[in-house]
Subunit: 397 residues, 2 copies
């Protein structure tokens, strides 16, 4: 049961009328029956939204009881009033959960530069609280309540056993491959019934995010609202995790985050390929990440994949401008298992065959090997299609 | 006469049969009657082409007599043999100009990973030498001989007077806004009859390039072959420039480089807008450049302009992830003269009016003001249209 709700959490999503379409959910409420440890990782954008400011102040924490998320309006670039609204929204969620105002966290996603319609938000929170009474474990509606341009809800879960206790980690996320019309925000909430002290939770989340959500590149645009939260309420029992138990937990958390992260570029109306970029043989992990990120961000590489063009020159030269020193003659490139470049010169290959392997599969695998060291990194991105651009250029604020 | 040839140079372009279409010129030969000072600025890509390696070895110089450029094959990723070919090609150009092999420079642009067809190159150089006898000042054919995906030749020139002597600076360039199918290379050759010592030429060229060719962003992909060369043969007479004369020369050289650089994003089959990004009020020029470059590289900003969408949120948040510290509440944004964002909050504006101003004009002007200091930077880029992507995805290596 990968998608079961960890012990001690109630959650659901509702329609609060922020989105015009009544079939679309747009508000998610999560309640922890006992105070939970909470950690957060946030956008590095200098222009960050009001809910990010509020969560930054409140994490790490050991007393979070509620998380509320709305979709449709991002509450970003809204100044003082936006900040007041974010605090008020968190306070409303805390109130329906019987907690103090500061015991709630808040996330928003949607259009930038609009104020939250607070009356609708308040009604939505009330409706969600009522719904928690009848369907307290509605994970799918909770995952749907945070969606914007996503075509599918994104869920992942793992169960691990530590010292005889069964620990559940379940997360959901939003974000889509489409060049997001101000809605490219990535949000994720990970719930676990493990016991963690705040510092451990923060370190574990940061480490997991660095290998997952920070390894996806869709359009390279870091949003004003990007947020990943981890709640750990300890309802599984036992002492706060450390040592071997923590290692087991970390591995499972990493997997949950990677599964959610990968689902983001995989979800794209306009995109036709999910591209995985594996870089190995670098001096440092930072070098490997820099190269993987540069290749993932190259419009030339992404359009080549869209056109099923085994254009090794674009890939090798993208690696070359990542700002990392390497010996050009030691680069080895494979695409879908075919070796295209080796020892500083192109390798003879059957162009039709490689092109067909790209065209015929939804996923494309690019492997770049260097001989500078042993560090590696993996990034995920999508291809760049004309359809993908059309969807964006046609969207108006 | 902005496009006249500086004194002491002979130049022309010919068809050498490297390109299949006999109507397309693909080889340019430039000869200086006397040994010229030469400076070069090259790609920062770790994977650089053979002609770049040869030019790097030979500049700065005070004894260059010939420059040969071919288009169609880039001689990149061609290993040892490519390096030998580049030297041989330069040697052939030197020979027809009556110079020593090391007195020639060489540039290539075109497909990566193919060897130069040396027989065709040799015949082309011979044909160009013959043509120099009958039409020694054929600037337009020289500019055409270096084109790949360009739709128009790119030329710029200035005449200045220093100590009574008339100095001519004339340059040509290639590079187009289309996401180049391995041909996004930017090449430029600038000729002047001014007298310059090699160190001065190198400093002057570097400074001009930093404010021109290094301020354009088409698809962010630094090519394996990017090269800008400056030749100064001193035929205008007088002592090597310094002091006030050098300042006058530098200003004219800056203008020539900016005019050529701007012509690159302006030349795009698939692009519908040339976007100028002005950033001001930064602490340092590096900060201003970083922000201008990030906004110029944002696919979200570029698609918004394609869709005539006055999407200030995309522009402000792109500035936010440039890695530069600034007060988000002090940002001021104008698009085509309309103020859209001010004091950390959106400014009321007539969306239809601003959208029409983008849709109705070929050029879009984005101005981002900060209150951190007095440094400024200007970048040029294009919008990102579906047509633009289609042209690339449909192109096969």
């Amino acid at each position: 049961m990968p998608h079961c709700v960890p012990k001690g959490y109630l959650l659901c999503g509702v329609h609060s009328r922020v989105k015009p379409d009544p079939r679309k959910l747009d508000l998610t409420l999560v309640m922890s029956e006992s105070p939970a440890t909470a950690a957060g990782v946030y956008t590095q954008n200098r222009v960050f939204a009001a809910p990010v400011a509020v969560c930054r102040e409140r994490t790490p924490s050991e007393a979070i009881r509620a998380v509320v998320v709305n979709s449709g309006v991002a509450n970003a670039c809204t100044g003082r009033r936006g900040l007041d609204d974010a605090r008020l929204m968190a306070g409303m969620a805390a109130a329906v959960c019987g907690a103090e105002p500061e015991q709630a966290l808040v996330m928003s996603t949607g259009v930038i530069g609009e104020y939250l319609p607070m009356e609708k938000i308040e009604q939505g929170i009330t409706a969600a609280a009522v719904k928690l009474g009848s369907s307290p474990k509605d994970l799918e509606s909770a995952a749907r309540g945070i969606m914007t341009t996503d075509t599918v809800p994104k869920l992942a879960g793992r169960t691990v056993t530590v010292d005889g206790a069964e620990i559940q980690i379940t997360g959901f996320a939003k974000g889509a491959a489409m060049i997001g019309p101000n809605m490219a925000t990535m949000l994720s909430l990970i719930l676990t019934d493990a016991a963690l002290i705040p510092e451990t939770a923060q370190t574990a989340l940061k480490s997991a995010v660095d290998q997952s959500f920070n390894c996806i590149s869709v359009e390279g645009h870091t949003s004003t609202n990007d947020t990943v939260l981890l709640l750990a309420n300890g309802e599984a029992g036992g002492q706060p995790l450390s040592g071997k138990g923590l290692t087991v937990f970390q591995a499972a958390l990493d997997e949950v985050c990677q599964e959610l992260a990968r689902a983001i570029p995989a979800d794209g109306e306009g995109a036709s390929h999910l591209i995985t970029i594996d870089v190995s043989g670098c001096k440092t992990p930072e070098d490997a990440r820099a190269i993987a990120k540069t290749v993932a961000g190259s419009a030339l590489v992404k359009t080549a994949v869209a056109g099923a063009d085994p254009n090794w020159g674009r890939i090798v030269s993208a690696a070359g401008y990542a700002g990392v020193a390497f010996d050009p003659d030691s680069v080895e490139l494979h695409v879908n298992g075919f070796r295209l470049y080796h020892e500083g010169a192109p390798e003879p290959f059957d162009e039709q065959e490689v092109s067909a392997s790209i065209a015929d599969q939804r996923e494309t695998h690019i492997q770049l090997g260097f001989r500078e060291g042993t560090a590696a990194a993996r990034f995920w991105t999508t291809d760049l299609t004309a359809e993908y651009v059309r969807l964006n250029a046609d969207y108006h604020t």
